[in-house]
Amino acid sequence: MKTRYSPRSYIELWSWLFAALTLFVLLAGAVLLLKDSVLVWKHEGTEILTGKEWFYRSETFGAAAMIYGTLIVAVLALLIAAPLGIGAAICTVEYLPARWRMVIKTMIEMLAGIPSVVYGLLGILILRNWIYQLFEDFEILSGDTLLTAGILLGVMILPTVMTLADDALSGVARAQRIAARGLGLNATDTIFSVSLPQALPGLIAALLLALGRAMGETIAVFLVIGRQDNQWPGELFSLRPLVESGQTLSSKLGGAEINIAYGQPLHWSAMVGLSFLLLLLVVGLTLLGLWIREHSKHTSYDK
């Protein structure tokens, strides 16, 4: 279809201008993060990833303990949110009538709307005490633990998992379900042999996107994690660190240290470096999730 239009129309000019502005601003943001953290890359090299110690007074900047904290907390959150969210999505898509689905979807999206600072408040005033009472026998120092942060984050990313899983499941063609039911399968057989296998890439993408969201969440985690630096676990696979305080990349960035670092080139670049690492982690997970989802769309049409 060949169309002629005035290339000088203001609307078009204006749209391109603002779209270009957006792209420019985003690129500039990423470049600035990289530029401002050059000092620490030169200073630490790969040590920033593997170094277990972060002492800004002696200019030692190792982020391994924070990366560990970020991963543990995010995975804990996913362990809670994944079964709950996917289970709820299966129920709304496969078992409940469509009218109910909208009601529940709306409710869950309201849950997503609660600001993270309010979740943090609930964590600090309620969940923290529960955790402390529950694990008192383990002689834990306070209720500010990785576990607390993980549980809180699990509730926070539940709507993300549920909404995306719902999208993935409801994307499975109705005709396929009807055919399965016609062959004598009941609703549950249909789920296991038709819906879940077809929606699997979408579900994996949902989990990855939710994991990214969990890693980037700052405020709620900041309030309940204790913000203890250098908590590298003695044994990597013991459960003990879960009930101790820790630090994540985001909780570090949200803290007062950013104000101390401001004005000291190396320390500041180390903090900016942390945010660059966080950005890389989250963007990587998001890209992977989106890629899996896109990829699956093309293959499912072929069948």
Partner: protein, 304 residues
């Protein structure tokens, strides 16, 4: 013939009823489990909301909404916190509207190659995934360090606007793509130029998407603390800004954030729950306003 098939043919009724019972059991268990998941999720929402309402309702009064904070949050109200948050939201809306319109029109109207369109969508999704604290750090580099603004409401508004850009833009794009093809074809058939088609057909049909997206985005922006904590907002000692440089505002999320960290005083706690209630009321109000339009879209999508 394999063993299994043999036994099947020998005694069909027995093994049949056995497998049927097993299937039935799995079916019931699955329904129970997923139903439990839905119930638990909904109970979480109701529990959290009713908890905050019960705790916060006591603090709520006209004086609380129109009074000025005193005694480090232990008495007085949250007038300037509320006004500050509203100012940030207004700024974010003003920033995001032209950007979202531009990006959405470029994505869905002006770009003709599918690959290019998909790239714009990808950028929007990635932007949506960027952690809010990273916006805060970049904002600090740009506005505090580079522009020398110190803490400024304008910096916070711009950052929040950029943060909600994907929400607004994607909602708008969906609406533009939902405009029936025949409307556009008819407009072109009548001899309208592309710009005229946009002005008289596409935009009137889809402008609702801009407002829906804006409401959803602002609902998210209202509760964000991380992007504004280093760039725009302080805990006390500010009223309404009169300039741009060194003119911070108070804001509700930051107010809650600071008080939450060291509030063992019952009077402060009561005020704290009150502030949380006002904040989630604001957020729910914004997303409820957007709800009717979204439900309509869903219904249309289901009818197709």
């Amino acid at each position: 013939m394999t063993n299994r098939e043999k036994s099947h043919t020998k005694n069909p009724s027995k093994s049949d009823s056995k497998s049927r019972r097993k299937r039935r059991l799995i079916h019931e268990l699955m329904r129970l489990f997923t139903g439990f998941c839905v119930l638990l999720s909904c109970c979480l929402l109701l529990g959290i909301v009713s908890f905050i309402v019960i705790r916060g309702l006591g603090a709520l009064s006209v004086d609380f909404l129109t009074g000025v904070m005193a005694e480090v949050g232990a008495s007085g109200g949250i007038l300037y916190q509320l006004l500050g948050t509203l100012l940030l939201l207004l700024t974010a809306a003003v920033v995001v509207i032209p950007l979202a319109l531009g990006c959405a029109l470029v994505q869905s109207v002006f770009l003709t190659r599918e690959a290019h369109r998909r790239n714009i969508t990808l950028v929007l999704y990635l932007l949506n995934g960027v952690p809010s604290i990273v916006f805060g750090i970049v904002g600090m580099i740009v506005f505090v360090q580079w522009f020398g603004w110190g803490k400024s409401w304008l910096a916070g508004g711009i950052l929040l606007g950029l943060m909600i850009l994907p929400t607004v833009c994607v909602t708008l794009i969906e609406r533009i793509q939902a405009v029936p093809k025949k409307y556009i074809e008819a407009a072109r058939g009548l001899g309208l130029s592309r710009a005229q088609t946009i002005r008289s057909v596409i935009l009137p049909q889809s402008i609702g998407g801009l407002f829906t997206g804006l409401l959803l985005g602002l609902a998210r922006a209202a509760g964000e603390t991380a992007p504004i904590m280093f760039t725009a907002t302080i805990f006390s000692g500010a009223t309404l800004p009169s300039g741009v440089k060194e003119s911070p505002v108070l804001s509700l999320p930051y107010h809650i954030f600071i008080l939450a960290q060291d509030s063992y005083d019952p009077a402060t706690k009561a005020k704290l729950w009150g502030s949380a209630l006002v904040l989630i009321f604001l957020v729910f109000l914004l997303s409820l306003l957007a709800l009717p339009a979204r439900l309509r879209i869903h219904e249309e999508a289901n009818h197709l």
